[in-house]
Structure formats: C-alpha cells, structure tokens
Symmetry: D2
Subunit: 345 residues, 4 copies
Amino acid sequence: MILILKSGVSEDQVTHVLERVEALGFQAHLSRGTYRTIVGIIGDESQLTPESLSAIPGVSKVIPVLPPYKLASLEAHPEPSVIDVSGVKVGGGHLAMIAGPCSVEDPERMDRIAGLVRAAGANLFRGGAFKPRTSPYAFQGLGEEGLRILRDVGRKHQMPTVTEVTDPRNVELVAEYCDMLQVGARNMQNFVLLTEVGRTQRPVLLKRGMSATITDLLMSAEYVLSQGNPNVVLCERGVKGFDSATRNLFDVAAVPAVKTLSHLPIIVDPSHATGRPDLIPACAMAGLAAGADGVHIEVHDCPEEAKSDGPQALLPGQYAELMHQLRDLAHLLGKSISPLPGVAA
Amino acid sequence: MILILKSGVSEDQVTHVLERVEALGFQAHLSRGTYRTIVGIIGDESQLTPESLSAIPGVSKVIPVLPPYKLASLEAHPEPSVIDVSGVKVGGGHLAMIAGPCSVEDPERMDRIAGLVRAAGANLFRGGAFKPRTSPYAFQGLGEEGLRILRDVGRKHQMPTVTEVTDPRNVELVAEYCDMLQVGARNMQNFVLLTEVGRTQRPVLLKRGMSATITDLLMSAEYVLSQGNPNVVLCERGVKGFDSATRNLFDVAAVPAVKTLSHLPIIVDPSHATGRPDLIPACAMAGLAAGADGVHIEVHDCPEEAKSDGPQALLPGQYAELMHQLRDLAHLLGKSISPLPGVAA
Amino acid sequence: MILILKSGVSEDQVTHVLERVEALGFQAHLSRGTYRTIVGIIGDESQLTPESLSAIPGVSKVIPVLPPYKLASLEAHPEPSVIDVSGVKVGGGHLAMIAGPCSVEDPERMDRIAGLVRAAGANLFRGGAFKPRTSPYAFQGLGEEGLRILRDVGRKHQMPTVTEVTDPRNVELVAEYCDMLQVGARNMQNFVLLTEVGRTQRPVLLKRGMSATITDLLMSAEYVLSQGNPNVVLCERGVKGFDSATRNLFDVAAVPAVKTLSHLPIIVDPSHATGRPDLIPACAMAGLAAGADGVHIEVHDCPEEAKSDGPQALLPGQYAELMHQLRDLAHLLGKSISPLPGVAA
Amino acid sequence: MILILKSGVSEDQVTHVLERVEALGFQAHLSRGTYRTIVGIIGDESQLTPESLSAIPGVSKVIPVLPPYKLASLEAHPEPSVIDVSGVKVGGGHLAMIAGPCSVEDPERMDRIAGLVRAAGANLFRGGAFKPRTSPYAFQGLGEEGLRILRDVGRKHQMPTVTEVTDPRNVELVAEYCDMLQVGARNMQNFVLLTEVGRTQRPVLLKRGMSATITDLLMSAEYVLSQGNPNVVLCERGVKGFDSATRNLFDVAAVPAVKTLSHLPIIVDPSHATGRPDLIPACAMAGLAAGADGVHIEVHDCPEEAKSDGPQALLPGQYAELMHQLRDLAHLLGKSISPLPGVAA
C-alpha cells in the first residue's frame, strides 16, 4: 500500500506513521515530494486493511496496489475457469443458456416449459422454489415441493437445474435437489449465506447486487472460494440507475471488466436487467457480443398467469427465435453452447 | 390500481383486460380518453400485484394508488410510534443517541468507551459481535463472547445495548443478550432474517440498504411488523452515490419523506453515511434539524487500533462536543434525549 | 393526462380541480375508486404541463399518457429516419463509423490518422477544435485553425467530418467548415446551443448527458427538430455510475429503448462510456449487437502525446482489428457500413 | 503526482516512463515495492494532466496529490470568502436568504411576492427571465422585459436581485439589470458561459450540476475565478438519484465537504433538491444546520397559476413560518441573516 500524508503533516506524525507501519511488521519507504510526503509499505499487503492505516493521524489517503481478493483474481489463476454444472460446461468458450420461469409452478406447466426451452437450445433449467419477495404478502414460492418438481422435470429432460437459495439453513436441502445454487442480487453481501454455499461443492450462480461494484462482486465470490468451493459463475443483472425507462441499468461493460480481473465465468441476465421483454433480445445479444459466458432468461408460456415477475419473461416462441440469433452470434465469436450431458453435441 | 392501455390496443384486448380484472374478483371501470384507454380497478387493491396485471397483453402501465405496505403506513397508525428500548424511548419527540465502537473489543476498552459516551449523553450503547465484512479475510467479530462483553458493560453503565444480527440461526441468541437488534444495510432485503427478527419482540434497528428506495425500506419494515413485532426503528445511513468525496450519499430528505408515509421513528447514521469523521458533526446536526428521532455515531478512543472501521469513528472528546450542540438543537426543536432507565431526566 | 387526487380530498377541492381543468379548455372525466378519486383529462395533452396541474390543491399525482416530445416520437414518424451526412447515410441499416483523435492536432498527424481509420473502414472523421475541458488550465483546442485542418484532411480523404460546437456564437462558423455538428454530453441541456444548431440544416450528433434520462435526451432532440432541422443522430456515451472501474456506465439498453420510442438513429461511443481502451472493443461489439446505428471511437497513433483524452483512444492497429469484427457482426445483423461518398460500396 | 506502474512492467517500460517524466521537465523518484513499482513526480504538479501520463505504456494508475483547482482552494485562501451582493454579504457567518418565484411574472404579482418575502426576512429577490426548459414548447421566460420587472421590483423593495443567465450573448445585458448572475445546474459545465460570467464582476450563483462531483463543481468555479471574477457563491441543489420519492437527491454532506476544500460560500436550494413543498422546510433546516451560508427557496402566492415549477414553491405564509425557524437556528449557530442594504440590522 501507499500512504499519502496530509499536507502540513508534522515531523512527529511522520515518525509515528513509520513506527506504526513497522509495528505491524512491514517496512516503510519514505519519499518527500514537492507537495506531499508519501510512505510506501513493503511486505505482504494482504495482511493489512486500508481502514486501520487511514485512521493513523496525518494519513490523508491509503492506496492499495493489489486487489483485495486473491483466489478470484487472474493473478491466482491466469486461465479462464471452466465450471462443470453436472455435465454442462460454463466458461472458456462454453456457453450456459439458462432458461425457465421465475417461480416453480405446477408440474405440467414446468414440464411444458422445460420441453420448449430445451428444444430451443437451453442447457440449464431454472425456477425459484424459495422466492425473495419485496412484499411479505406476495407469493413466497413452493418450498421443498417446488424443489422436487424442478428436480423431476429437469431429470425428465436431462437438463441440470438452477434454483435460488435464500436461507443458510436450507443450503444442504437445496443442494440435494439441484445442480446449481443461485445467490440472488439482494443476498450478494449476505456473508452468512455465501459462507454456507462455499461449504458445499455445488456450482454457485452469484448475481451482482444492485449497488455492488465489480470489486464487491469479486469479494463476494472470494467468500465462496475461500470456503473451498471453486465453482462460481458470476452474473451481471443490472445495477440501480436513475432512469425508470428500464427496471435496472444493464452494465454490459462489467463483462469485459471482470475478465481483466478474474478467471471466473460471467453470464448476463437481461430479464432482470431491463424488466422489459421488448428489450431482452437486444440486451442478450449485447451481453454475448461483450464476451459473456452465457445468458439467463426467464421464459413463461403465459406471463399474465405467472406467479411472479410475469412481465419480464419471454414467451417460448420469442425465446426460440432469440436463441437462433444467439447461436449464430456465438458461432461468429468462436464459442458454442455446451451440449446437454448425455446428448451428442 | 389504474391500467393505462397501449395506444392502438385492439377491442379484443380491451375485452380481455376487462375479463381478466373481473376474473380476479374486481370491478373494472373503463374510460376512453383522447389518446389512451384507461381501466380503473375497483376493490381491495392489496389483493393485487402490479406485475401480474402488467403482463396482460395491451396493458402499457400499471399505476398503484395505495402504498404496498400497510402496517408501516401512516394510514394504519396516524400518530408517530414511540418504541421502547428497555426503558429508552425512541420517536414522538424522544431522541435515541446511539454510540459505541464499530466492533465489540476487549472489556476494558468497552468499559472505558461506554463511560465516556454515557457521560456525553448517549442513551444506547452499540458494538458489533457479528460483523458483516466485505472481505472473508477481515476480522469477523468476537461472536458470543462479544455479546457477553457488550451486555456486561451495558449493564454496568445502565445503558441498553444495540448489536447487529446477521444470521437467522443466531437471532434468538442475540435477542437474549441485547436490547435492540440491528439489521444492517447489506441485509435490508434478507427477508429470511427479517422474518426471524419479526418473530421476537426485541426492538429492531433497520438500516436502509445502499440502493433501497424509501418504499423498499418500508416494505422491509413491513416484513418485521407482519410477523407480529411492532418495534421497528428505521435508520438512514447513506445510499450509493457517484462522488467518492464521501463513502455514501447521505439522503437527509429521506427523514421528512418517511414521516409523510409512516409512523415509524427514523434516526440517522452520519458515520456510515459519510465515512469521514470531519463531516460527521455537520451531518448529525443536519439529520436532527431534518426531524430525525436520533443519531447513531461510532466512537472509539483510538481509531488507529480499532478492529474495524476506525476512520469513521469520532474520538470521545469530539463526540462530547457534538452532543453539546445536538442537545441545544434538540431543545430548539422541542425534543429531548430520552433519559437512561432508572436515571432521573 | 390523469390526475390522481389525494386520499381525503374534500368535495370543494374536487370541484375546484374540475373547474380548473375546464378553465384550461379541457374536458374532465371523474372516476371515484375504492381508495382514490381520479380525473381523466380529455383533449390535446400537448397543451398542458404536468407541473401546473400538480400544483392544484388536492392533486396527488399527474400521469401524462403521451410522451412530451412529438417530432422525435415514433408516432410522428413510424419508419426509422435515415440521416445523410454529406453522402454518408446513418440509420435504417446504414452504419456510421466515426473515428479520429479527441482533439484536432497538427496537419501531418491528422492526415496520418485519417488515412489509417479510412483504410480500416471508418466513414466519418472526427476531431475537436473547441474542447469543453473541465479545467480552465487544460488545452482548449485549436479553434478556427483546427476547423481548417479538419476540413482539409477530410476533403483529402473524401471523409465527411464531425466536430463539436460549444458556443452558440460559433455555430455558423463551425457549420461552414464541417459536415456534422456534435453537441457534447455537458451541453445536452444547453437549450440556447440546441436552438442555434436547430437553425442550421447540418446533421447534429447529440450526445446523451451523464444524468439524462432517455426522455431528457429525446426532449433535447426535440429542441433541434422543432427549429426545423430534422437531421439528428443520438449518441449513448455512458451515464454517471457509482463504480469507478469504468469512467461512466455504458447504458447499452438505451439503444433498443430509444428504438421503441423514436425514429432517430442512435450510435454508441464506447470510448467515453468506458474511458478504458481495453474495454472499448467489447463495448463496441455490444452496442452494435444491441442495434446501434454506428460506433464512435477515438483513435490516436501515440496516446501519450495526445493533447487530450489520450488514454481512452485505440491505436490505429487496434481500431483496424476491431473494425474487422464489427464488419462481420454487421453482416450477421443484416446491416452495412455506409460507403464513403464517391466511393463504390 | 504518483504513477503506479502495472504489475509485470518491463525494464524498458520503466525506463521510458522515467524519460517521459523528465522530458516533461520533472524529476522522477523511483520506488520498487513488493508488488508494484511506483514513480513519484517532483515539481509543479499543476503543469501536468493525469490523462497524458496514464497513456504512457506500463502506467496503471495516476494519483494526483493536489486538487486540480487552485484559486478556489483553501490553500489559496484559507479564510472563508465573504461575497458582497450589492450590499448583502454572503459567507463567513453572513447568510443569504434568496426567495422569489421560479419565473418573473407580471409586475403586480412580483411586487406582491417581493413585499411578502422581504417581510419574512429574505434579503435577495429572485425570478427567472430566461428559463432553461426541458421542453421547447414550455414557457421560456419574459426575456428583457422580465429583467426590467425584476430590477424595478427589487429597487422598490431595496432588495438586490438574482436571475439566471443561459446565453453567453446575454451576459452583459443581464449584468446591467441584475445584482447576481445565476448559472443553472444544466449549465454548470457550459464552459463558454462560465468564461463570460467570469469576465464581469457581478457575483455569480453557481448551481451544482445533477451529476457533478464536488471536484467538478469547484473546477467550474475555477473557470469563473480564473477570468478575474472572485465573486462566486456555490449552491447545492440535489444530484441525480434512483428514488423517485424526491425530484433529486439533496446531498447535504456536500456543504461541509466543500468547506474542507474551498473558501467559497455555499448555499442550499431545497426547492429544486426535493421538488416537494412538504419537504422544503426540513431540508432548509438541515442545510443550515450542516453549515450552509444561505438558503434559496421558491415562493409563489398561487402555485397553480405559476408559469413554471409551481409545485415546488412555498406559499408566502409557509415561507414566513420557515424563516422564523431558520432565524432561530441561525442564532443558535452564531450566524445571522445579512441585513438589506440601507436598512439597519
């Protein structure tokens, strides 16, 4: 780290800063400029927190030179990670195409939708059994019954399944039923939950929080990785913006920005990013063109009857048409949609 | 609710919208304007979700006329609520002055700080035993040992205590030790945790999330209230902003805005809102002047040794000086700092 | 417009609202719901401003049903506009590829860069002669001398030119020298300047302001259109965001969102949106995939010597490589880069 | 400045960086840390721009140690500036209370409002003659006729006047009629206009742009100061936020933050910051409590008839009541409202 001292810092303060750095077990390198005195700290930066240093009297600013995450960084793992979700590969040129309704609904509808999205080329089937709803009065999901339906439908169609987990007490249960655990945007900094999913080996779909920086997102991934679970797929799903024209602000530049920092795959979710079915296709294409390792889209065969978030779902026919375009674009980019397990590519 | 139909909607679509509204058990009131057709929905709006209506073909926009929260609303409870935290009143002219270090540290330091903030006029003592840290490698709090220290020091100084709870499995434990349960900004939409704290009767200090609207904040309060716990104190602590001059953007207008919508008390936390000790006093004064029911400030006697967030703490002497000004301002506004339980006002 | 009245509105207030609406020359349509009374206003909404209505006592909310812009709207002109910039078509499947340095520099360098970007496929040449710099001490551009260099280099390479105009007093001058007038993000709501460029017939490149909603952007376009100049090309160049990982937040969803509202072409500027050369190619691809009508990229042959904004420029070789990919993507999307005037396609 | 080099920078690149720094006429101080190499630049930093340095290959980050503004900085002028607006002092304990309608309207109404706000304690009278409206179809102000009305009414009531200037061609004209020139939020980075107002000696009321950082605001002030006009009063009027509960997000912390950086006075404008009359009093109190040097409030005697922005105006009676509270708060803070010129304090 680099400490920039305040202008007008006293000699006593400079001495105290140096002593303090050395007391923490580091070497200090003093440099007096025209306007400011600077202290370079030499040693293993990961043992220091900027906060404790910036509280030393006379310190104006603390500038870390390393990212605060390690396992998630490109330095730790220079090649792109390829995550295996029960046979479906994600990352390194392999695309995840996640589709399904917002909530798990009755078995017949789930079966019907799974058949349609599979035929369109989706390779992972999604549906929420535990729904984090902003209103306590809204439909909260079918719970374990929903997990069972999702698993059965997924098995029938040979599609691995993705579902959200919201409660640290349920992680084990959800991990038994499903192939991939989703941590939602509102729980991205629920460190208790991150720690629990890190203790499983199930792949984790970690959605970016609405006010999370890219560094925050990678720090949350680090929680999972540091517990021993290396299987994290990131997901850009829009951040908070000021224009109500779209539900959130789709930060497509986060995709290439993450790739300059981390080896973890990152997919995009234009359903939540825009909240508008008429914008989903364009944003899905944009995400893929920007380098995303997959696309997450909500699909429902009758949005007005959906138990949650109907208006942001595509109809199966719209999804099939979009997948056609996405497949062409993937081909142009030299990437391919991972084949379903047990199905020839 | 009001449905604004799309321009160019067909007669069949209008008919389907009317049928759909009636199928949901409501009356529809059609009105054809110069440019748009509008459907007013007559009946108990709380039984409807805007999402399911906006997915009906031909519907352009859904406009709720009621707030989505009920128990938290001023309609439900027109007088300001006064929350009793083990004898300290919050709301309705009674001010909460919460102070203490970010993390619970060793008993001697806790005792010393408690004595100083109490002498300065604080009436609630805070300290974190379970810390939600963005880095998995940072100090995570002393856990139950921290709860014990906090309780013992609080008792000694006759100050009720406030501490954060981050895990639904710990709510009961924390409620045994402490007088007020804090739900942090990052957990404001951790609905599992909100539900658990709603099942206790402990007062809850609910901090606004960094990208939460005022409606979101009140919906989260509604989660707690709807479980049977009416004792919620809201806290404005800064939202995400674009200017790195301050850590967050202190939304002081949220204080009077909440008061036009809800009976719940709301306090301000200038420590987290600004992240800068040099701005804390001005923002504490601003919050009180705007109508806040209290002020939450981190105080540490040696910030450079603090286990977390040292740089945003005031020194005890700075806190005492600020409390002097806050007391004068409270007097001017016709409010008063609630006396400690068992201590004459 | 629709007026939602306050809950608890008095009969006198309702009567006053109705009288006021009729005094303004409109018909009022009253509808009493379960919770709220609603007044629909029937007549030419464009003659009303929401502000004046919302100040009537008893009115809680005013909901316009028409967009506030007319000439820019899809209703006024359902087909995409194709703008002709001295022979280069923009919109309706014709792509504008604008390239060049941030500032106009010496003639030799300009000539060299123009030759390189033209060879790579750019069809419009850009360079700033009047620079809106945040610092009064920074290089402010070469002024008229810069316009002359830009014109001469453009002519030599048969490329129409684009340059920014910042002063209403200079609009005529700039319009004499250049083929397209750029209004920068910081001047997007400089209505005096918009009015002046609207009085010319030169095509206008209107950049979205950093805190402008899509409606704001279209309203600014309306200023130009309403003066009689129909030749407006919009440009998404990033809005203000909270993450310093990129200079601005590239709002790629604005591209398809604009296309649902307006007939005007919209291009993207990943140079200013990201401020990072390593992210420009991915964001250029994303913009095109999202439906943009062109891409604006800064190119400089020695960024460290650039008179302004060097770090956000691509090297000519990087630009040529990107253009190769953009051309393939355009082909996939059924679009093509407009040929230079006088050059066979 | 400090240059942090990229990890894995080559020796050739380091050498080139050093040569480049010296070629610019500075001394370079090299320091090799555990992870990164750092180059300190010794010399007059104001002669350098971070941009040109960050484009040098191998440079990862450029960290300025001085603020980019000089004349506006506290270093240049450690005492608070007191600006004299035709006899009314602003800054250094003297409060400006600016009030009046959004737009200049007919002389009788202006006279009536001026009399009422003066009686309530306002010391500067405002009204817009040139209105920057987002819609080209909205009322654009009375122009020179409005300036005349404003001047005449101000003279009659012995109140100096404030009005907005939007066109560099009108600066001289407006300066002849009015005592203080307002530069609006949308023109905060209209550098052409800033330069023109800097060439007069009229005090300037510079409003913060909706996406301007505090540094941006001070840089815009620097434009005015650097032209020779030292009379700048800043104004916080809300920045762009994500919550539609208020029109903008009132950044009250900007008031004390500016005071740590600059000697210029700063006032607050709760009318534009909130857009809600019911929140104006609380936010006015908050601004003053935070250290503002004055309060700008729109007042209209019949908001529903206002030619612009009626709904954000207070009624004269509401204004008088608020002024009563503001005067008490000022007294508590040891400040006072500047008396009108020619009127005993």
